[in-house]
C-alpha cells in the first residue's frame, strides 16, 4: 500500500473534464514532482489530494483511508496533509510565530507554550528565527513562503503538497524556498510537488510525472525523463523548455 493513492480519479469543472482516470501512487519518503503545461490539471490534482476540490469519480486514499469519501472525517485527514500555496496565504493578522502556532493550538489542542517552542524550532529550521514576531506584510515573498512551509510542518503531516510555491516569487527569492524544500526531502518527507522549476525537479525529484490534458502521460525517474523520455509527449514537452 502506498502512502497516497489516486485511483481512477475523474474531476469536472462544470462541463470541462479536467482530470481523466488519473492513477498515481506516492510512496512513503518519495518526492514526486508533477510537471506539465498550464491547464493540464496538475494543480487541480494536488488540490483534490486534500479535498479543496471534490472529485466526481474514483478514489483518493491516505494510508489506505479514503479522502474522497463524502463521510470521511476530512478535518482529521487534512491534519496529516500539509499544503503550501502559490500565493502563500499567510494569515495577515498574525505574526510569523502565530501563523505557525494557530493550527496546533486550535486544532490539536496543544498548550500554548509547547506550541510556541515547536514553532520557534520550525522557524529556525526555515531560517527565520529572527522574524518570528514580524507580520506577513513585513516579510519578503520568499520569507513568507518559508513561514508557510513551517506552518504546514507544524501539524506534523505525513505528506506535503507544494502547489507552484515559487511561481509568485521574484527570481532572486526562489532559491531560498527551494533550499528549504530540498532539505525537507533529504530528511525523508513525502512530497508531492507541482512546479515549473525543472532544475529542482531533476535534482530533488525521485519521480517525474508529466501531465497533459488531464491525464498522466509519463511517469519516469528524473534521469530517464530528462535524458531520454519514454513518451512522445515527454519529448515534446522537453523540447519546448529549451
Amino acid at each position: 500500500m502506498s502512502l497516497l493513492e489516486f485511483e481512477k480519479v475523474n474531476k469536472y469543472f462544470g462541463e470541462t473534464h479536467v482530470l481523466k482516470d488519473v492513477d498515481l501512487n506516492v510512496e512513503e519518503g518519495e518526492v514526486c514532482v508533477i510537471i506539465g503545461p498550464s491547464g493540464s490539471g496538475k494543480s487541480t490534482l494536488l488540490r483534490c489530494a486534500n479535498r479543496l476540490e471534490e472529485i466526481q469519480g474514483g478514489e483518493i486514499r491516505l494510508d489506505g483511508q479514503s479522502i474522497s469519501d463524502p463521510d470521511a472525517d476530512i478535518n482529521r485527514l487534512r491534519q496529516r496533509i500539509g499544503m503550501v500555496f502559490q500565493s502563500f496565504n499567510l494569515f495577515p493578522h498574525k505574526t510569523a510565530l502565530e501563523n505557525v502556532t494557530l493550527a496546533p493550538t486550535k486544532v490539536k489542542g496543544k498548550d500554548a507554550s509547547s506550541a510556541k517552542q515547536e514553532a520557534k524550532t520550525l522557524l529556525d529550521r526555515v531560517g527565520l528565527s529572527a522574524q518570528s514576531s514580524s507580520y506577513p506584510n513585513q516579510l519578503s515573498g520568499g520569507q513568507q513562503q518559508r513561514v508557510a512551509i513551517a506552518r504546514a510542518l507544524a501539524m506534523n503531516p505525513r505528506v506535503m503538497l507544494f502547489d507552484e510555491v515559487t511561481s509568485a516569487l521574484d527570481p532572486e527569492l526562489v532559491g531560498e524556498v527551494l533550499d528549504v524544500m530540498h532539505s525537507l526531502a533529504e530528511e525523508g518527507m513525502t512530497m508531492l510537488v507541482v512546479t515549473h522549476e525543472m532544475g529542482f525537479a531533476r535534482e530533488v525529484g525521485d519521480r517525474i510525472v508529466l501531465m497533459a490534458d488531464g491525464r498522466v502521460v509519463e511517469d519516469s525517474p528524473p534521469e530517464v525523463f530528462f535524458e531520454n523520455p519514454k513518451t512522445d509527449r515527454g519529448k515534446q514537452f522537453l523540447s519546448k523548455l529549451l
Binding site: 500555496f85 493578522h93 493550527a103 486544532v107 501539524m155
Partner: protein, 277 residues
C-alpha cells in the same frame, strides 16, 4: 459631428485655461470654505448672543437633558452591541452556501432595509402588546425595550451587509489555508476570516453606528423620553426654541464625535504590521 464637438470644446478649453485651472480651483475652494466658515460662525454667534437664554440653558441641563442624554447613550450602547452581534450572524447567513440560510438572511436584510425604521418601531411598540388583552401586557415601560429591539433589528441588517462585504473581500486562499491545516469551517471563520472581515467592515459598521445614534431621535414617536422629547417638552413650556436646540446639538455630538474616535482607534489597531514593508 466631430467638428462641432471640437469647436465647442475649444471654447470650453479656453474657459478652463483662463478661469478654472488647478491654481484657481484651489483658490476657489479655499475661498468658498472660508466664506462658509464665516457665515456659519456668524449664524451660530448670532444665535448664542441673541437667542439663547443662558439662565434657562443652565436650568434645563439637569435633570432633563442629562437624563435624556444618559438614556440615549444607554439605548445606543445596548442597540450597538446587540446589532453588531446580530449583524455578524446576518452577514454569515448572507455568505452561507446553504440555500435556506442564505435566502432567510437575504429576506431579513431586504425587509429591514426596505421599510422605514419608524414603521418598524411602531409595529413593535403598538403591534406586539396587541397580542395580549388590553392592559395585560406583562412588560412595564415597553417603550425602551421596544426601542432597543427595533434599533437592533434594523441595524443588524446594515451591519450584516457590511460584514458580508468584509467577508467577501477576504481572499479565498485564507479559508483554504485554514481548512488545509485541519480547521473546521467554524474555526477557520472565527480565527482567520472574521478578524480580517471585521477590519474590512469596520468603516462601514462605524458609519452605521453613527446613524444608529441619530436614529434614536425617532424614538420620540414611541414616547421614549430622549433628546427630541426633552426639546419638545421645554419648547412647549417656554416657547424658546434655540436654548434647547443648542443642548440637543451638544448632546448628539457628545456621542457621535467620541464614537468616530473609537472607530479610528479600532482601525489603527487592526493595521497589522503597518502597510509598508
Amino acid at each position: 459631428m466631430a467638428e462641432s464637438y471640437s469647436d465647442g470644446s475649444a471654447t470650453d478649453d479656453d474657459f478652463q485655461e483662463q478661469f478654472l485651472n488647478d491654481k484657481t480651483l484651489k483658490f476657489a475652494g479655499a475661498a468658498i470654505a472660508t466664506l462658509f466658515t464665516l457665515v456659519v460662525g456668524l449664524f451660530i454667534g448670532a444665535i448664542i448672543l441673541t437667542q439663547v437664554d443662558f439662565d434657562l440653558f443652565v436650568e434645563i441641563i439637569y435633570p432633563q437633558f442629562v437624563e435624556a442624554y444618559l438614556l440615549v447613550l444607554g439605548i445606543f450602547l445596548a442597540g450597538s452591541f446587540l446589532s453588531i452581534i446580530a449583524g455578524i450572524f446576518v452577514g454569515l447567513g448572507r455568505v452561507s452556501k446553504t440555500r435556506i440560510t442564505n435566502t432567510v438572511a437575504s429576506g431579513y436584510v431586504e425587509f429591514f432595509r426596505g421599510t422605514p425604521l419608524l414603521f418598524q418601531l411602531i409595529v413593535i411598540f403598538f403591534g406586539i402588546p396587541a397580542f395580549w388583552p388590553p392592559g395585560q401586557f406583562p412588560i412595564p415601560n415597553w417603550a425602551i425595550p421596544a426601542a432597543i429591539i427595533g434599533l437592533t433589528l434594523n441595524h443588524a441588517a446594515y451591519v450584516g451587509e457590511a460584514v458580508r462585504g468584509g467577508i467577501n473581500a477576504v481572499p479565498e486562499g485564507q479559508m483554504e489555508a485554514a481548512r488545509s491545516l485541519g480547521m473546521s469551517y467554524v474555526q477557520a471563520m472565527r480565527e482567520v476570516v472574521l478578524p480580517q472581515a471585521w477590519r474590512n467592515a469596520l468603516a462601514a459598521i462605524g458609519n452605521d453606528q453613527v446613524i444608529l445614534v441619530k436614529d434614536t431621535s425617532l424614538l420620540t414617536v414611541i414616547a421614549v423620553p430622549e433628546l427630541i422629547s426633552a426639546f419638545r417638552q421645554i419648547n412647549s413650556a417656554t416657547f424658546d426654541p434655540w436654548t434647547p436646540i443648542l443642548l440637543v446639538a451638544i448632546a448628539y455630538l457628545g456621542i457621535t464625535l467620541p464614537l468616530g474616535k473609537v472607530v479610528r482607534y479600532l482601525e489603527a489597531r487592526s493595521d497589522w504590521g503597518g502597510d509598508r514593508r
